[in-house]
Assembly symmetry: C2
DNA sequence: ACCTGAACACCGTTCAAGT
DNA sequence: ACCTGAACACCGTTCAAGT
């Protein structure tokens, strides 16, 4: 049941955010009462943190396979962007931690910590990827470029979701690549 | 009182989002009862829409002065990015319509429409700015570049806010400029 | 014209009670 | 071990009542 709740809650949060998630709506979707949800997750913060933790762990595992599956940096970035594109494809949803990042200052501390861990994980992964390049910058430059790439992709997803048009995402990514922001 | 309410509500939404705004908190801040807020704004959607409308109108006016004050495209973009930077400087707040964009699918229709109008306004302004360049692309290319610039700046603000570090914003903008995404 | 208190259905949360 | 109904303080909203 615990996993059933997480599986039901994830797409709800990806669509409408953490704040909009209701224990009663979630309970109804899985066929129990809202007070029963508290048996598995004492507080909404516990649920949100578990949601973000699992999402981050799964993302980390996928990113590892991605990095080891191809030596080509451009191909890796394309498949990295495809992760965020896939969320939009699924009923115009967002990255769980991207939408929660917007609620950052309104999140319970335990949820915020997991969201921050997702961001850190992505920045580290991008840094490792960029470190493969021959045309190296300093370590500091690589970190800043990783930051810029992550911010740009999250922004593209946010704006594309708002416009309800996945082409907005694709065109933004294409413009990033054309400019050389993406390797 | 109507304007007092709007002035008090704006920074609250910029900090924590539309969903987190409470009529009772807002009422207490301005010294009336929550039921009195409904006299000025019948529903929370009315308040949110008025908030976004005024924000967009003020933004539009400022962008016009910006565009006519300098013929230099790079200077205009720098001052454009400075608008978003200023929000972060003010207690790590976000663009009102940037944070509301994350709540997009959970907003009352009337609020969503105003948020979308802000986005449209910004894209049009950026398109006009980019049209000044000699090294022109097609009209379609310019629109896509405007989109990418807007998404990238919004993303930089979102991630910088999450990290609680305005340097994240500055470094992202610098990376955009270095790549040539920003003119 | 503007404000208020009381009521309503929602929300997260608690807890005694059930199986 | 897992679920439930009732209660609590919150929320947006309504409305009769006040000035």
């Amino acid at each position: 049941m615990r996993q059933t709740l997480l599986d039901a809650a994830r797409p709800m949060v990806q669509a409408r955010g953490y704040n909009a998630l209701s224990f009663r709506d979630l309970a109804e979707k899985v066929g129990i009462k809202s007070s029963s949800v508290h048996y598995h997750f004492p507080t909404k913060g516990d649920l949100g943190a578990a949601l973000a933790r699992q999402y981050t762990d799964e993302g980390a595992a996928y990113l590892e396979t991605l990095l080891s599956s191809s030596p080509d940096i451009g191909a890796c970035i394309t498949r990295y962007a495809a992760i965020f594109r896939a969320a939009l494809e699924r009923d115009n949803r967002m990255c769980l931690c991207g939408i929660m990042a917007a609620e950052h200052d309104d999140l319970p501390a335990q949820v915020r910590e997991e969201v921050d861990r997702f961001t850190t994980l992505n920045l580290q992964w991008l840094t490792r990827l960029l470190s493969r390049r021959r045309s190296k910058g300093s370590q500091g430059m690589i970190g800043k470029q990783a930051l810029a790439i992550y911010a740009a992709i999250q922004g593209a997803q946010l704006i594309a979701r708002g416009r309800g048009d996945i082409a907005v995402f694709d065109e933004s990514i294409a413009a990033y690549r054309a400019a050389g922001l993406l390797p």
